[in-house]
Symmetry: C3
Subunit: 372 residues, 3 copies
């Protein structure tokens, strides 16, 4: 379902208040709630009979607790310990004997980050790049839940070949002359990032037996872009950095946070380093232009493809039947990278029982690395 023992973005800060909010990450139900300005994350399931605590209330004003709506089992939101059971009185023997899962939380850049994993979490900075967390980073954000396994979405993000083909008729690229294809794609691993280098782009070419392509090479309104190369890199547990995109001053990030096997929560960020007036100008430009052109329409084409791939991979044996081609070396490198570096693979609750011995490492599901 996804990789475990990482920090994930869970929700926008402004969506979490004193009323609990509910979110599912890697198949785990979480509640997020704020107390005295700080945000906490708990398993969204009362230990008693499984009722979601997110429908509960704070029955003891001023305390950092939440009480289950059903029988008033009361949990310390800072650590998940059951500290009271209202309907069993102050001397309830259950108190202190039960604990629900509590998740480490950080609140940075207007986002709630949650560590889904076991043991002591690393610092957030180990999982999220500095330029993203930087004080001067200003960002435009869009959060949606999309169909399709997160792996398909992540692989689409890294894939260099579809960019110049699928997106050439997007509104964002209307004035841009696109190359026919890119040459010499070679995977490149830089620390935690999997990316690729590429050779010169060919603007137009003659395909044997087929003819010249692309036809739009002669559209007078399209101009070749005269900018430095775009660097696209993917990183565990599944997020992408595109620098720059859609314009030189903006860095694009996107996280693919698994919800369940066939859905992921998709966080898109346009990030710019700026302050004061420049920061406000950027925010305005994001809401006027970039959000609609890049995050909605351009990335909407990606969402369409991911959704169309989903049945092939989930029902028709796609992981065994797919045929990769030359530009997919980056995907193969990514799969190998996951296989070797993924901290832990998420399993359903039934399987998690046996995890105490800590044996199960990264699974075979990432073995599919054959190439044509």
């Amino acid at each position: 379902m996804g990789f475990r023992n990482y920090w994930f973005p869970a929700m926008l800060s402004r969506s979490v208040g004193r009323k609990p909010a509910s979110v599912t990450i890697l198949g785990e139900r979480l509640l997020l709630v704020r107390h005295e300005g700080r945000c906490y994350a708990l398993e969204d399931r009362c230990a008693h009979r499984g009722v979601p605590l997110s429908v509960g209330t704070c029955e003891f004003p001023g305390t950092a607790t939440i009480s289950c709506r059903y029988h008033g089992w009361t949990y310390d939101i800072t650590n998940g310990r059951c500290v009271g059971a209202v309907s069993d009185g102050p001397d309830s023997p259950i108190v202190g004997k039960v604990r629900i899962r509590s998740y480490p939380v950080e609140e940075r850049k207007g986002l709630i980050w949650v560590f889904i994993g076991d043991g002591t979490p690393p610092r957030l900075e180990e999982d999220v790049p500095e330029e993203f967390l930087d004080e001067r980073a200003v960002m435009g954000v869009r959060v949606t839940v999309r169909k399709g396994n997160w792996r398909l979405a992540a692989e689409n993000g890294l894939d260099p070949a579809h960019a110049a083909y699928l997106h050439r008729n997007s509104w964002l690229m209307f004035f841009r002359r696109f190359p026919a294809f890119k040459t010499d794609i070679v995977p490149e691993i830089q620390g935690p990032w999997v990316g690729y280098r590429q050779g010169p782009s060919v603007m137009e070419s003659n395909y044997p037996g087929l003819g010249f392509w692309p036809g739009d090479a002669r559209h007078w309104w399209r101009k070749p872009r005269n900018r430095g190369p775009t660097k696209t890199q993917l990183r565990l547990p599944g997020y992408l950095r595109v620098n720059p995109f859609p314009i030189p001053s903006i860095v694009h990030f996107e996280w693919y946070v698994p919800v369940d096997e066939s859905h992921h929560r998709y966080f898109q960020f346009s990030v710019r380093s700026a302050a004061g007036l420049a920061a406000w100008r950027f925010r305005l430009a994001y809401w006027l232009w970039w959000r609609w052109l890049a995050h909605v329409q351009f990335n909407g084409q990606d969402a369409w493809m991911v959704q169309l791939m989903e049945p092939f991979y989930s029902e028709e044996g796609g992981w065994q039947r797919e045929r990769l081609f030359r530009p997919d070396v980056g995907l193969t490198a990514w799969r190998m990278h996951c296989h070797e570096n993924g901290r832990e693979v998420q399993k359903g609750w039934l399987y998690r029982k046996g995890e105490a011995d800590g044996s199960s490492a990264v699974e075979d599901c990432f073995d599919s690395t054959a190439m044509t």
Copy 2:
């Protein structure tokens, strides 16, 4: 799925006429139809090719028969025997060789009761209390299909702890001062009924580290109730008696009739012993007040909890993972009682084949009796 070899309420009398009605109980499809004032229940499935007989018609006016809509296989509604096959002529060899299941039916108190089971049924009075069947019993009824396995609904009914917690903000209880908790809950079995005794209630208490509760103890408009105790009792195959509720003169009954594994038909009754003008006054009060306050809003809170518990028990291993607490002794007693006294457990049609030998008794699914 539920207990078998019991009488169940199936439908309101007024919903069954000469046109067949269809209802599913314990996963069995039944048709109910009336002939010369009397109601009959048959398997709602033609023996030929499985078409529901409830879309059939009576082709031979005056006879107690129903003919399948597809080929005119004609069944005696009093015993399920195939007595004709119209499209094969009067000499059809199938006649007399085929029989569909026929269910014992009783019609009492405006309800159709059906015996789902094998062999000779007991008298209805063995499964339904006399005060309910009594001639002077006047009742208000509400029938709905709710999400959630019937066991969750039944256990919610018996559960003493949630009453004073979950329902304290219901409209019905607006003027009532509720205790913080009840003490010394002890299960009590009286004949076929599983209930509990309880010690004194505590109106307000100080919970260590949390504070005083409840805050509403100081609402001036709430008055402590000065009435005798309410007796709540649960009985096989799954129905509850609350005496009195919502006011001293009314006894509340509710049946949880399994439809399938995740739905039950919920029959709510407000019963009062009365006659003449008093009976009509009660009916008026039921429709003006008690139906909306008790059956709709108050019990709607229960339905909400049952629905929220359902995924925990059906998908997340709730029966193994739940943690019961002190007030749940009644539930544990109920589970033990079911385990020891349940007449028979319902299985799917595939499993019923092997039942001829009568070996399979009550199943392990009711073994979950651990307590914290």
Copy 3:
């Protein structure tokens, strides 16, 4: 799921143009597309990552190719060979190494016919009768997707007993006096066709213990039909011929083309041999009368029964539990015929892997031939 190695009608000719259309037959996703007037059928799934080619476009105007929307893998629509991969340049090594399934197509009588099978297909005339393909054959067509496994639909088509019972109250039969039942039904196999002979019909009869039937025998407006017998015949891979229906000059055909296990595409044809003005008069009569009376309302009663049978056969073990009766000898003959003559049984893609050795013949699922 159905029989393989046959020609099936896939779609109306007029629904297929230069924009690809998508259709599922026997669980296989196909795309149909037209080039220079001719229609071609391909697997609707790019070999690369499974995206449906039917969302693709023709990137090289004038060539018989289609390019995948995602990365521009380009296929020759006449044979399924990958002849280009736009985003990998003209020298892409994938070219010539990959091939998707291509299906033999014939276009006749305003329909696209596709051969779903392996090896060289037989001539279309071997699977479709001459009177249907005949130049003078004029037809009215209706295409719908209906619930229910195709076998239930096919067996309903052949079944002689339901005709005079189920349909007697259809609008089409309002003025017709129907027999009570037919006698001496005997299966009759004529070449590839399974049908039945029948003895004299009995217009009214006295059913022991039940009474006279039918009551409508005395409706003054109903007249006995004074025509030759109707011949109903069923043929592999699943289509029916009724001659004549609904009036003497019209032959009725219907194909049950499996979509998946619980749906079939239902092609209804009213066919008349005519030319010139007579042809146009027939088309007018079809659209004024026969379509609504025969194809919509009369056959709609069949669709209703098929849908009602579906849960019995798919969930409740109908193939084991059904009880056939005397008029069902035709069905039994049909099942035996399928068992002995079906060319190949369709399986899911997982099972098709092992098919290279060609061992798996017709399956046991057609063994259910018991009779009462």
